[in-house]
């Protein structure tokens, strides 16, 4: 195998790992946060606004803001993952909120009236019915994450961005494409697969 092919393979692997870790952590944090936002209307609005504000920070600026922070910052993959988690939070939290709020009032009331505990209502009615929306949020987080992760190379985060930046520095189109094309393919594949999952859930 040529060195370039080996580089592309390793960078793709890194890229997938960075995005996967970030999205998984964002799901673990974001879905409960979304549920909490629905339960506490006022605090929930504030939390959503905060998550929304994070999303509006340009990605390179967010990396810049994180680097000086002790423990989570610095140069390298860890900072990249923290930034990606923060970015992934908004679509997941927001879609969890939208999904649960979208549950038909009559359906929810029927559940309460038949003697579901709040917990049973959440797990047997609200979350299953919100699932297509939540999966849509995870899809958006994943696709966005794959894009933002290419920029993470600028702060030594690794991944396919490394090849793109190196290609730019060396004015080597082949090298740029070796990073850009797999990143685009990853994003498209993630989108197609998760859209299919969403459709299945909607039935």
């Amino acid at each position: 195998m040529s060195t370039l092919a080996a580089d592309v393979l390793r960078a793709t692997g890194e890229h997938v790992i960075i995005v996967a870790i970030s999205v998984i952590v964002a799901i673990i944090a974001g879905v409960p946060l979304g549920i909490w936002c629905v339960r506490r209307a006022a605090a929930g609005r504030a939390a959503l606004r905060l998550v929304d504000a994070i999303q509006t920070i340009p990605s390179l600026a967010l990396f810049g803001l994180l680097i000086p922070i002790p423990f989570i910052g610095g140069i390298g993959m860890r900072t990249a993952i923290v930034a990606l988690i923060l970015y992934s939070l908004l679509p997941i939290v927001r879609n969890t909120v939208i999904g649960i709020r979208g549950v038909d009032a009559g359906v929810r009331e029927a559940g309460v009236a038949m003697g579901f505990t709040p917990r049973q209502l959440l797990f047997e009615v609200e979350l299953p019915l919100a699932m297509p929306s939540i999966v849509a949020g995870i899809r958006i987080a994943t696709v966005t994450g794959i894009g933002v992760a290419t920029i993470a190379a600028a702060i030594g985060g690794g991944g396919l961005g490394t090849l793109i930046f190196r290609g730019v520095a060396m004015v080597d189109t082949r090298l740029m494409l070796a990073g850009a094309a797999p990143a685009a393919v990853l994003a498209i594949v993630a989108d197609v697969v998760m859209t299919a999952v969403e459709r299945r859930l909607e039935r």
Binding site: A110, M114, G115, L129
Partner: protein, 241 residues
């Protein structure tokens, strides 16, 4: 076992004011009145979906505030106009909701659900594994009735369950409802603004207006009621001559 229901001086601003009502165990009562008269709020007081601002609701003599609401609701059937069926669950799983909460096994659920659905005109073999969205409005309401009645509730609360159905299906369902009611030992409260429906499903009619009870009469005497709302409802429902 059917339960008795009592309300003493119950107020929920701004919907109902100073409601006093006693419903004996096993009685079938219709609440009638115009939209916004307080019928639905009064119904929802009975299973604690609405909490009174003042006054007390008692089931079998025990104040609702001191009752385990979850347990009460599991022995209370609840049927609403929008059916409230779980769209992500099959007909059988919908009907099995309360039995599952009560811990029945699958065989017992099936043995109870099959004859009930059959009697409501939904052959078990054909309908059990279908999803609500593939059913007509009338079929969904039938599933709603089966779901409310399967565990032999001690109270059955109905909020205009047939309101969105055409008159023929409506009549069919009233008959199906009455037939199933006959064998159960249940106290029934049935909200409707249809006088004929009230007379068919209930033996006693309580008339609401502006959040208060304005008349309380045996069902067969309803047409002779002198309550202004009843006369308006009768006039509005009559065919042009």
């Amino acid at each position: 076992m059917a339960s008795s229901i009592e309300m003493s001086d119950v107020t929920v601003e701004p919907m109902v004011r100073n409601i006093d009502l006693r419903i004996a165990a096993g009685e079938a009562v219709a609440f009638i009145g115009r939209s916004g008269a307080g019928k639905t709020t009064s119904l929802r007081l009975i299973n604690g979906l609405v909490t009174p601002a003042s006054g007390e609701v008692r089931i079998d003599g025990v104040a609702l505030a001191k009752t385990d609401l979850i347990a009460l609701r599991r022995r209370t059937g609840y049927i609403i106009q929008s059916s409230g069926l779980f769209p992500h669950r099959t007909v059988l799983r919908n009907v099995a909701t309360i039995p599952r909460l009560l811990g029945w096994d699958d065989v017992r659920i099936r043995d109870a659900a099959a004859p009930l659905l059959d009697r409501l005109g939904l052959p078990f073999a054909k309908f059990a594994s279908r999803y609500p969205r593939s059913l007509s409005g009338g079929e969904q309401q039938r599933v709603g009735i089966a779901r409310a009645m399967i565990a032999r509730p001690s109270i059955l609360l109905c909020d205009e369950p047939f309101g969105a159905l055409d008159p023929i299906v409506r009549r069919e369902l009233q008959e199906g409802f009455c037939a199933i009611r006959e064998e159960g030992n249940t106290t029934i409260v049935f909200v409707t603004h249809d006088l004929a429906e009230a007379m068919r499903v209930a033996e006693r009619v309580v008339v609401f207006d502006g959040g208060c009870i304005v008349a309380d009469t045996p069902a067969r005497e309803l047409p002779r009621s002198d309550a202004a709302v009843v006369r308006q409802l009768v006039a509005a429902a009559s065919l042009p001559s």
